[in-house]
Amino acid sequence: MTTAFLTILGMGLVTYLTRLAPMWLYTRLKIPLWMRQAMRYVPTAVLTAIIFTEVLLPNGTPDLSIHNARLLSALLAAFIAWRTGNVLATIAVGMITLWILQAIGL
């Protein structure tokens, strides 16, 4: 419990530093070009890495078969995200698809 709380404090500290350092040290600190370019790809890279592991490794091992209900649901959700750009619609379609596939025991 104590260790977990210390970890949370550490998470808070590094998060706060990313938010504070540039606005605090702005006049003294020049963020190099490569770092600014790199930051542009942080959300895409991190989020996709998580999506792939959640969807393709449902039980901790790779499952690329048609029996992977999460894979089918995610593909349909991705299509909705592409067509609508709406996060809530994406979640709704993905969850309902997963529940239907689970119910019919695919």
Binding site: T7, M11, T15, R19, I31, Q37, V42, A45, V46, L98
Partner: protein
Amino acid sequence: MTSARQELLAGIRAEMPVTLGVTPFGLIYGVLATAAGLPPILAIAMSSVVFAGSAQFIGAQLFGVGTPGIIIVLTTFVVNLRHALYSFSMAPYLQRLPLRWRWLLAYLLTDEAYAVTIGHYRDESKALDHKHWFFLGSGLTLWIVWQLTTIVGVALGAQIPPTWALDFTLALTFIGLVIPALQDRPNIAAALTAGVVAVLSFNLPYKLGLLIASLSGILVGVWMERRA
């Protein structure tokens, strides 16, 4: 000239529609954190100490599989690096503020507060004088909604059976955020690289693969951008 009070209220009003979208994520975070085995008090503490949605989702998940603290902190740092970019673009407008204002506003600098506030700062038809009150209004509004929805989510969490597979909402939320951002080749390449490396490195302990996959994706994105 717009008064401090008017700026504060305008910031609150501007953030309101955004809180509608954030509410389900706060609830889902609370539910997920509980499902991952985090004690309720720590799940709630994370929302006020860290105050960063996606990092909290990942953090809760890493806690769930027994990841060592140092890896959780490192992963949080990489996931939240984008805030440095926001802070950097906000910095020129905040230079004349006393340091204690910058310390407070930095704590409130989330994706959602930044999105709403930066447009207001860039609108030069309005004087700069009290715009930090607008930032404060939008940031605090989001903070309050995030804390409240976390508490409700944690309270609900224990009552939701695992067969509902609510943990899947994390992947779906991220799909909803990532797909519309895949507008150019470097971003698509970054996504595919990160995804494939993540699956290939799934055997590494403590989800270290997530860190390696993210860094690979970022490198490929920068490399493609420079080559173009």
